[in-house]
C-alpha cells in the first residue's frame, strides 16, 4: 500500500517534470511568432532594442498603415489569395473525395493496378514534372493567370486521395451493400451515405489544401509576372525586399498573412491526430 502510494507520487513528479520540459521547449518554438507580433506594433527605432520589449512601450499602428495604405495594392493581393485558395479547395474537395471513395469502395476493373501505379508515382520527386507542367500551361494559354495557380488542385493531389481512401475504408461494406440493394447508385451512396461518415478526414483535407494553396510561393514565382495578379506570399516577398529596413511593416504583413491560417488551424486542430495520423496516411 505504502509502496503504491510512493510510486504514484513518483509518477506525478515525472509528469510534472515532463510537462515543464515540453512546455518550455514549446514556448521556445513560438517565440519567433511572439517577436513578429510585438514587432508589428513597434516604431522603426524600437525593433532591435535589447533586452527585447515583448510589449511595446509605445505601441503604434504605423506598420499596418504603411502596409495597407502605402504604395502597394494590398487589398488586391489579399483578394487574389482568397480567390485562388477558395477555388483550389473547392476543386480538390470533389476530386479527392470522389477518387478516394472509388478506390476504397467501388469494385471497378483495373482499380488495384491503377492504385498501385499512383502509389509508385509518389516516389517520383515533383521537380521532374515542373517543366512539363509549365509547357502544358503555356500551350493552354494559362501562364500569367490565376488558373495556373488553382487548376492543378482540380485533379486532386495524391495526399488527399490517400487520406480520403483510408477514411472511406473504415466504413463497413454492409452499409454500402444495403444501400445498393435499395437501388442507390454509387454517386448517391458516395454523397449521402459515405461523405457524412468521414467528416473529420474531410476537415483535415480542406485544411491541408487551404494551407498549401494559401502558402504557395513556388507556383506564382514560376507562372506569374504581372504584379497585380500576385497572391500574398509573392506580394509580401516583394514588399519586404522593397522595405528592407521597415521591420514593423514587414511583420504586420506576416501577421495578416498568418491570421486566416491560424483561424482555420484552431478550428480544425482537434481532427488532426485522429484522422491525419491515425489513418497511416502520410503527406
Amino acid at each position: 500500500m505504502e509502496r503504491k502510494k510512493s510510486a504514484k507520487k513518483k509518477q506525478i513528479m515525472g509528469r510534472c517534470v515532463a510537462t515543464l520540459l515540453v512546455w518550455f521547449l514549446g514556448i521556445a518554438m513560438v517565440i519567433p511568432f511572439v517577436w513578429m507580433f510585438s514587432t508589428s506594433f513597434k516604431g522603426m527605432n524600437e525593433v532591435f532594442t535589447f533586452p527585447i520589449e515583448w510589449l511595446p512601450t509605445r505601441p503604434t499602428l504605423k506598420g499596418y498603415t504603411a502596409l495597407l495604405f502605402g504604395k502597394i495594392p494590398y487589398f488586391t493581393y489579399f483578394l487574389n489569395s482568397v480567390k485562388v485558395s477558395l477555388i483550389a479547395v473547392f476543386g480538390t474537395f470533389f476530386s479527392c473525395t470522389m477518387a478516394g471513395y472509388a478506390y476504397a469502395k467501388v469494385n471497378f476493373a483495373g482499380r488495384d493496378k491503377l492504385f498501385l501505379m499512383k502509389l509508385a508515382a509518389t516516389m517520383l520527386p515533383g521537380m521532374v514534372t515542373i517543366l512539363p507542367t509549365y509547357i502544358i500551361y503555356s500551350k493552354l494559354g494559362l501562364l500569367n493567370s490565376h488558373a495556373s495557380l488553382w487548376l492543378g488542385y482540380f485533379f486532386g493531389g495524391t495526399f488527399g486521395v490517400f487520406l480520403m481512401r483510408q477514411a472511406f475504408l473504415s466504413i463497413p461494406d454492409s452499409l454500402i451493400e444495403s444501400a445498393r440493394l435499395d437501388g442507390a447508385g454509387h454517386f448517391r451512396i458516395y454523397w449521402s451515405i459515405a461523405m457524412p461518415n468521414v467528416k473529420s478526414s474531410t476537415s483535415t483535407l480542406l485544411f491541408m489544401y487551404f494551407l498549401w494553396s494559401w502558402n504557395d510561393y513556388e507556383k506564382p514565382l514560376m507562372y506569374l509576372w504581372t504584379p497585380k495578379l500576385f497572391t500574398l506570399p509573392m506580394a509580401v516577398k516583394s514588399f519586404s525586399d522593397d522595405q528592407s529596413q521597415n521591420y514593423p511593416a514587414i511583420m504586420a504583413a506576416n501577421v495578416l498573412m498568418l491570421l486566416p491560417i491560424m483561424i482555420a488551424f484552431v478550428t480544425c486542430q482537434k481532427f488532426f491526430v485522429e484522422s491525419l495520423v491515425g489513418s497511416g496516411v502520410k503527406g
Binding site: G14, V22, M29, V30, P32, W35, M36, F48, S95, C96, A99, Y101, A102, V106, N107, F108, A109, L114, A121, M123, L124, P125, M127, V128, T129, I130, L131, P132, Y134, I135, I136, G152, F154, F155, G185, W214, N215, E218, L221, M222, P233, M234, V236, S240, I250, M251, N254, M257, L258, F265, Q269, F272, V273, L276, V277, G278, S279, G280, K282, G283
Partner: protein, 307 residues
C-alpha cells in the same frame, strides 16, 4: 468451388460493369491529372533530358545531344556545391526525428495540456515560408538581431559572433536550424498517431520486468515506431533534396553558393539561366538519388525485421 465462384461472377457481371463505369467516372478528374501531368510529364522530361532545350527558344528548337547533360554533371562546380550542401542539410533529419520521437512520447503519456502544446510545435509548419524567412532574417541580423544579442549576453565577444545568413560560413547552419524548427511539429504529429497504435501490453510486460522509462523508450517505443520512422525518413529525404522555395526566399542560395541546394539549382537552370534540358537531367539525377536511398533503406529495414 470453382464452378460456384464462376457462377457468382456471372451473376455479378452486370453490376460489375456498372461499378466499372461509375468507378471511372468517380476517379476521372484524378486520373486525367495523373495521365496528363504525371505520366506525360515523366515521358516529356525524360526525353528532354537528352537535349539542349532552352526555355526561351522553345522545345521545338531543341537538339538531341546524347549523354552530354549527364557527362556535364561530373565537372559542374555548382552541382558539387549543391550536393555537399544537401548532404549536410540531411544530417538534421536524424536529429529532428529523434527529438520528435522523444517529445511525442512525452506528450502521449505524461504531459498536461498536450493539445495546446502540440499546437505550439505545429505552428511553424503551417506558417508561410516568406513569413518564416523574413522573421528569421531579422532574428539572425548580424549586428542588431536578438540571436546575436543573446549570444553576447552569454559572453561571446563581438568579433566572434556568427554572421548567420550573411556569412558563407554560417548560412547553411542557420538554414538548417530554421528547417529543424519548421518541420519538427509535423514529425511530432505523425509520431503521435503511430504511438497510439503500440499495444499497451508491451509496456505493461516491460514494467513487470522492472524496465525504467528510458529502457522502455529504447526497447519498445523506438522499434515500434520504426515503420513511421522509415516513412518520415523517405519523405524527409525527398523534400530536403528538392526543397527550393524556402532557400530561394531566405538566401537565394547565397552568400556565394553556400546554401545552394539541388532543388534551387534545378529551378534556376529551368527558369533563370535557361539551361532547361540540363535542368531535366538534374531532376532525373534527383530521382535516382531518391530511389537509391529508398532501396538502401528498404534493405536495411528488412535486415532489421529478419533479426
Amino acid at each position: 468451388m470453382t464452378r460456384e465462384r464462376k457462377k457468382r461472377q456471372k451473376e455479378r457481371k452486370p453490376g460489375r460493369r456498372m461499378d466499372t463505369i461509375s468507378g471511372y467516372l468517380l476517379v476521372a478528374p484524378n486520373l486525367i491529372g495523373f495521365l496528363v501531368f504525371t505520366l506525360f510529364g515523366i515521358g516529356f522530361s525524360l526525353v528532354m533530358a537528352f537535349t539542349d532545350w532552352n526555355l526561351v527558344r522553345g522545345y521545338e528548337e531543341a537538339n538531341f545531344v546524347g549523354l552530354k547533360n549527364f557527362t556535364d554533371m561530373f565537372t559542374d562546380p555548382y552541382l558539387k556545391a549543391c550536393l555537399i550542401n544537401n548532404a549536410k542539410l540531411l544530417l538534421v533529419l536524424p536529429i529532428q526525428l529523434f527529438l520528435a520521437a522523444v517529445l511525442a512520447s512525452l506528450m502521449n503519456k505524461a504531459v498536461y495540456g498536450k493539445a495546446g502544446v502540440r499546437a505550439m510545435y505545429f505552428l511553424p509548419y503551417v506558417t508561410n515560408i516568406v513569413a518564416i524567412a523574413t522573421i528569421w532574417e531579422a532574428l539572425f541580423h548580424k549586428t542588431k538581431g536578438p540571436v546575436n544579442a543573446l549570444l553576447m549576453v552569454l559572453g561571446i565577444s563581438e568579433s566572434a559572433l556568427p554572421g548567420w545568413l550573411s556569412s558563407s560560413q554560417w548560412a547553411l547552419l542557420a538554414v538548417a536550424i530554421v528547417l529543424l524548427w519548421k518541420d519538427l511539429g509535423y514529425s511530432i504529429l505523425m509520431y503521435s498517431g503511430a504511438l497510439q497504435q503500440i499495444p499497451q501490453e508491451l509496456y505493461e510486460a516491460a514494467e513487470v520486468d522492472g524496465a525504467g522509462v528510458v529502457a522502455k523508450f529504447l526497447h519498445i517505443t523506438i522499434p515500434q515506431l520504426a515503420p513511421m520512422t522509415f516513412m518520415l525518413t523517405i519523405l524527409g529525404v525527398v523534400s530536403s533534396l528538392q526543397m527550393w522555395g524556402f532557400v530561394q526566399v531566405i538566401t537565394n542560395g547565397g552568400p556565394g553558393t553556400s546554401t545552394y541546394t539541388l532543388g534551387l539549382y534545378i529551378y534556376r537552370s529551368s527558369f533563370i539561366t535557361n539551361r532547361t534540358g540540363y535542368a531535366c537531367a538534374l531532376a532525373w539525377l534527383l530521382t535516382v538519388l531518391v530511389l537509391i536511398f529508398a532501396i538502401f533503406r528498404c534493405r536495411e529495414e528488412r535486415k532489421f525485421s529478419v533479426e
